[in-house]
Homo-oligomer: 223 residues x 2
C-alpha cells in the first residue's frame, strides 16, 4: 500500500581515531548481515594476514592514480606516501540494487563524501570522554607519545565537526552503541521522506471505486 524508495541507504560510520568505530562496525555486520561493507582501496603493501578484497583492495600506485583520473573514488587521500580511497562503482551498484552500504571511514573522508552524497546517513561515533580516548590510543602500544598526542589533537578538531553529521552515538558500551546504530538504520527506513508513493493495488482500487460511487459524498477523497 505504500512504496518505499527503491535505493539502498549509504551509511557513513565515522569518528576520531580510537573512538571504536571499527569494533562497532564489525559487531553491526554480524548483527545485521543485510548490510554490505564497502572496502577501501590502498596502494600500500598488505600487512600480516591482510587479504585482498577483504581488508582492502590492494592496488599499485599507478593503478590507483588511473582510478583517480577516471573519477572512480568517492574520496581519497595520501598518508605517509600511500594512497587510500573509497571506490565509487561498487557502492553505486549495491545502492541501486536496494542494498544498504556501510562505510567506515575517517572524519575528513566522511566530510568529502558528504559533499558528493548529501542524503547519505552520517553517524559520528563519540568516545565517552577525552581521558578514555587518550587511554585507548596509549593502549594500542604501536605509536610513540608524540604520535599519540597528535592523534589526540586531531580528535579534538574532529569533534568540532559533529554538527555536520545526522546522528551521534557515544561509545561507552559497545553492545549499546551497536544497538543504537542499528536503531538509526531501522528508523531511517520509516522516515516519511523515504516513501516514494502511496498506491492502491487492483483490489483496493475496486474498494475505492465502491466507496466513490455507491456510498459517500466523495469530493475530499483523493488517493
Amino acid at each position: 500500500m505504500i512504496q518505499l524508495k527503491n535505493k539502498g541507504q549509504l551509511i557513513v560510520l565515522s569518528g576520531p581515531s580510537g573512538c571504536g568505530k571499527n569494533t562497532i562496525c564489525n559487531a553491526l555486520l554480524k548483527r545485521n548481515p543485510k548490510l554490505w561493507l564497502s572496502i577501501s582501496c590502498t596502494s600500500r603493501e598488505p600487512r600480516g594476514a591482510e587479504q585482498d578484497g577483504k581488508d582492502y583492495f590492494f592496488l599499485t600506485a599507478q593503478e590507483f592514480e588511473k582510478k583517480i583520473e577516471q573519477h572512480d573514488f568517492l574520496e581519497y587521500a595520501k598518508y605517509n606516501g600511500n594512497y587510500y580511497g573509497t571506490p565509487k562503482s561498487k557502492i553505486e551498484e549495491y545502492l541501486n540494487q536496494g542494498i544498504d552500504v556501510i562505510l567506515e571511514i575517517e572524519v575528513q573522508g566522511a566530510l568529502k563524501v558528504k559533499e558528493k552524497i548529501k542524503d547519505a546517513l552520517f553517524i559520528f561515533i563519540m568516545p565517552p570522554s577525552m581521558q578514555e580516548l587518550k587511554r585507548r590510543l596509549e593502549n594500542r602500544g604501536t605509536e610513540n607519545e608524540a604520535k599519540i598526542m597528535n592523534r589526540f589533537r586531531i580528535a579534538y578538531q574532529e569533534i568540532n565537526e559533529i554538527s555536520k553529521y545526522n546522528y551521534v552515538v557515544v561509545n561507552d558500551d559497545v553492545d549499546l552503541a551497536v544497538e543504537k546504530v542499528n536503531a538509526i538504520i531501522t528508523a531511517e527506513k520509516c522516515r516519511v521522506d523515504r516513501i516514494e508513493d502511496v498506491y492502491l493495488n487492483s483490489e483496493e482500487e475496486e474498494i475505492h471505486e465502491f466507496l466513490m460511487d455507491k456510498e459517500f459524498d466523495n469530493h475530499d477523497i483523493s488517493i
Copy 2:
C-alpha cells in the same frame, strides 16, 4: 562529554481507526517501561471495567468545559455529545523532568497537537492494506455496515495526511511494528540536534590546557 537536551520527547502515535495503534502502544509500554502514557480526559460515562486515571480521566461536562476555558488541553473534540481531550499540564510536567511521553491519538487530534508542539515525534501507524483494514473494522462486530464504511472512508482521507508526520510504520506484524517504533525513539535521541552542548569536565580541561600550552600549534582548536 556531550550533553543532551534535558527535555523528554513527546511521541505521538496515530493512524486510522483499525490500524492497530492501541495494540502497538500497549506492547511498546511493556517493552519500554521508561515511557509515560498520557491518559485522555472524557466527559462520557465509564464503560465496563474502565477505571478513572487508568483508561481515562472521567470528568463531568462542566469540569471539562472549565478545563477548556483554562486552556488546559493540547487538543479536544466532541463526539456523540461527549468531550474527549488531551490534558496539557501532566505532559509538560513529565517532559520537563526529561521523561518521554507517548500519546496514542486519532489523526485529527494529532494534527492539532502538531500546530502546538512542532518538535514532537509524529509516527503514523499504517494498515498493511485497505482490505486488511476493512477486515479488522468488520471483525470488531460492534458497528453496523454504514458505520464501518464511514470509518473506512475516513481512513482514506487520513492516509492522505501522512506527509505531515515524521515516520510511517506499516503494521503488518505487531512485533516488528513495535520494534520499529522503539528504534525510532532510540534513534531520535541520537540526532545531532538533540545535543545541547559539547563540554569538557575539569580533568579534560587539564588535558586540553596541556595540549594548548606544551605540545602543538593551537590556532585551530576551539572546543
